[in-house]
């Protein structure tokens, strides 16, 4: 694996499967009375959030704490950034304080890449979502969720070969869609994007996926359907006429869900806009994995942090079936 995690496209099939397998091990920690590993004790990780995202930040923080890392949360609001300090100066300040890894969320596409490649800092950089570019840990947790549901919990070493995944909604503005297309393709899945033509980027023809404008045609051929959040303000820029028209053509309701194969699941990266891209009936159904995805997010982020930072430590997955924990020491 590379030193940083910037894009899902950077991961090979074996990298991705290793992360998913490691996350399975991590998930078992969550079932223990003491949900903690000593792996990153004495290491400091900074969650550098230039954009509001409580759920992603908390997920990383939970993962870091379960690995016993020291956690610094840096939110742009109320910090020097709002006074005009540059990304470079902020990064160098953190580096000077001895941070061992930086988890960054930024509204500008490419900001994590810049941070990792411009020589501003040495620490590994983990992209927690940048602009409309990438959100690799989201794609990993989605793949993890799919593998568990569609392949099984004892799917260690396996990928998603042949699984048909449909991603629906605002692809144009979605880092989740980009990351998922890259990772799912790497894992052997067949991806179809469904959106009104206005919300599909020019240049999509080179992506390793299909594009359809009709949700109804694709649903019966889907093993998983991932609904993306659609912001209401998009209709002000004429991406679609009204919220109701969007819902009628691209929203997932009970009737549409019934067209999916019986085993197929409904996914959503959250936060959901109920009544827009998804109805309450679907969101609250057993087929919807939204809450599971949140839980899996912690396991995936533990796995990523472990593999990027704990490489020299004894591997939790090889020495014994169960990872070492505080209680077993």
């Amino acid at each position: 694996m590379k030193r940083h995690l910037i894009s899902a496209a950077d991961l090979t099939r074996d990298d991705a499967v290793l992360i998913l397998d490691t996350a399975e091990e991590m998930a078992r920690i969550a079932d223990r009375p003491i949900k903690k590993l000593p792996t990153l004790r004495g290491r400091t990780i900074c969650n550098l959030f230039f954009e509001d995202s409580t759920r992603t930040r908390i997920s990383f923080e939970a993962a870091e704490k379960r690995l016993s890392a020291d956690v610094i949360n840096f939110a742009a609001k109320g910090s020097s950034v709002s006074k005009g300090e540059s990304l470079k100066d902020t990064a160098q300040t953190l580096e000077a304080m001895g941070v061992d890894a930086v988890v960054i969320r930024h509204s500008a596409s490419g900001a994590p890449y810049r941070l990792a490649t411009s020589g501003w800092i040495d620490a590994p950089v983990i992209n927690a979502g940048d602009g409309t570019h990438q959100h690799p840990t989201q794609a990993l947790l989605d793949a993890f969720t799919m593998r568990r549901r569609l392949v099984g919990k004892d799917a260690l070493g396996q990928d998603l070969a042949g699984r048909r995944i449909t991603i629906v909604g605002d692809v144009l503005h979605s880092r989740v869609a980009r990351s998922n297309v890259d990772l799912l393709h790497t894992l052997g899945a067949e991806v179809t994007l469904v959106a009104p033509p206005t919300l599909v980027p020019v240049g999509v023809e080179r992506w390793p996926c299909e594009v359809s404008y009709s949700l109804d045609e694709v649903l019966p051929k889907s093993d998983a359907v991932m609904m993306l959040r659609v912001q209401r303000e998009r209709m002000n820029a004429a991406f679609f006429p009204t919220e109701r028209e969007y819902s009628r053509r691209y929203g997932l309701d009970g009737a549409r869900m019934a067209k999916m194969p019986e085993h197929a699941i409904v996914m959503h990266p959250g936060p959901m806009v109920r009544g827009m891209e998804i109805t309450a009936e679907v969101a609250d159904s057993d087929r919807c994995t939204v809450v599971e995805q949140v839980a899996n997010g912690v396991s995936i982020r533990m796995a990523v942090l472990y593999l990027l930072l704990g490489g020299s430590e004894p591997a939790v997955t090889t020495t014994s079936a169960a990872p070492r924990t505080e209680e077993s020491k």
Partner: protein
């Protein structure tokens, strides 16, 4: 600067042709021929080098007044001389905007004082570049700066009525409007060329159609009102087709291309390094090919640098926060040599036409872009075309370093530049 009155340039290939001697006496070329006498003259041994008329840049941002942290008239004209230029047109998007006789006269005077190359100010088409009300175009023309080129560059004159009126109005004094063709609504939030790469990188797209639709409109407007129009930094294959069509109809349109659009593509944006952020954006390989062919066949008339200096901090940041623009004066001729001469698309006479004669004509500069012959003003550039060197911005005369060519090997080096007989560059160094 050396104050020699007589200089003999010995054995230079004039416009790439047969070796000749060129004798400069005072401000003019006294004689061109074989075995000229060197008596009383400083001799420049130029065997193997190419002698061109002093280069003319129709599109330079000198930043003064207002952004002296990125460039001044003095540093910008020193950069120009280093690059072989003897005249530059200074764009109007300064602070304050060059939309009055007072500001254009100030810039003109600063150029005269600097003395490294002639500075011909460009006047803003509209007050404050806001596209709403015409500036006092006549007053700028009547001023000491004698403005004939008008542009809101950096912004498009997007209102069709304002554009029409400007095209019509400047006919009274032989002016020309240079359009920055960018449909503003189609480019809101635009960060790079819209296409395969922007789709992957998640950067806001700047579609080719936003340039092409404005060019199409403006050539039709120019035809309708019988005016001439100049298109700044044309960047797409589609724009080439429109200009070619317009010229075939006899529409009085001229167009420029920048060196960077002749060499670089949007693939470079994958680095997210804002040194590649420029407006209009770097396009695709197919566009680069079309632009080179169009420059060779005359559809595109000239090369203009769009030299756009920015301080380091405006590029040492994330892509979206970075300023758009690249410096270009000191590398333009080398890029043209690599992309046009060494590919066989242009000979040196063709380079002289596109980097000196034609820009001087479009900008109505009487004393630049003249033939290398007796009696003409001694504005000359001597180029060692066999030179190969790696671009090191630390050696730039410009105050800014935002070059996309750092570390890249480029051919050719300006060894001497003469402005009215006076050497501004000697042996590759500013005099």
């Amino acid at each position: 600067m050396s104050e020699t009155t007589k200089t003999l340039i010995r054995g230079a290939k004039v416009l790439g042709g047969e070796p000749q001697d060129v004798l400069i006496d005072g401000e003019t070329i006294a004689e061109v021929g074989q075995n000229l006498s060197a008596e009383g003259a400083t001799v420049v041994e130029a065997a193997g080098q190419v002698l061109l008329p002093g280069l003319v840049d129709l599109h330079t941002h000198l930043r003064e007044p207002g952004r002296e942290d990125s460039e001044t008239v003095l540093t910008g004209t020193r950069a120009a001389a280093s690059g072989g230029y003897t005249a530059v047109f200074a764009m109007a998007n300064t602070f304050p905007v060059a939309d009055t006789a007072g500001v254009v006269e100030q810039v003109y005077r600063l150029g005269q004082e600097a003395g490294y190359c002639d500075v011909q100010p460009i006047g803003a088409v509209t007050i404050g570049l806001e596209g709403k009300q015409l500036s006092e175009l006549g007053a700028m023309h009547d001023s000491a700066a004698r403005v004939t080129v008008f542009s809101d560059d950096g912004k498009c004159v997007d209102d069709a009525v304002i554009m029409r009126r400007a095209l019509e109005y400047v006919k009274a004094f032989g002016g020309v409007v240079a359009q920055h063709a960018q449909e503003p609504r189609l480019t809101e939030g635009a960060q790079m060329n819209e296409g395969v790469v922007s789709a992957e990188l998640g950067l806001g797209g700047w579609p080719a159609v936003a340039e092409e639709s404005i060019i199409a409109r403006d050539v039709l407007l120019a035809e309708h009102v019988g005016s001439r129009v100049h298109i700044c930094h044309l960047s797409t294959a589609g724009s080439v087709e429109i200009v070619r069509w317009a010229k075939s109809r006899g529409i009085d349109v001229t167009a420029e291309v920048t060196p960077h659009h002749l060499l670089l593509t949007d693939e470079l944006v994958r680095s997210y390094n804002p040194v590649y952020k420029v407006n209009p954006p770097l396009r695709t390989e197919a566009d680069v090919r079309a632009l080179r062919e169009a420059l060779a066949d005359g559809t595109i008339d000239i090369v203009a640098t769009d030299h756009a200096p920015h301080p380091h901090e405006d590029k040492d940041c994330e892509w979206a926060a970075a300023a758009m623009g690249m410096v270009g004066l000191e590398t333009a001729l080398s890029v043209v040599q690599q992309t046009m001469v060494e590919t066989g698309l242009l000979d040196w006479a063709g380079v002289a036409e596109r980097m000196s004669f034609a820009p001087a004509r479009i900008g109505s500069l009487a004393h630049h872009g003249r033939p290398v012959s007796a009696g003409e003003p001694a504005n000359l550039t001597l180029v060692d075309t066999s030179y190969r060197g790696v671009v090191d911005p630390a050696h730039f005369a410009s105050r800014s370093r935002n070059t996309p060519y750092e570390g890249r090997e480029l051919p050719g080096r300006v060894t001497h530049t003469f402005l009215r007989g006076r050497a501004t560059v000697v042996d590759g160094k500013l005099a």
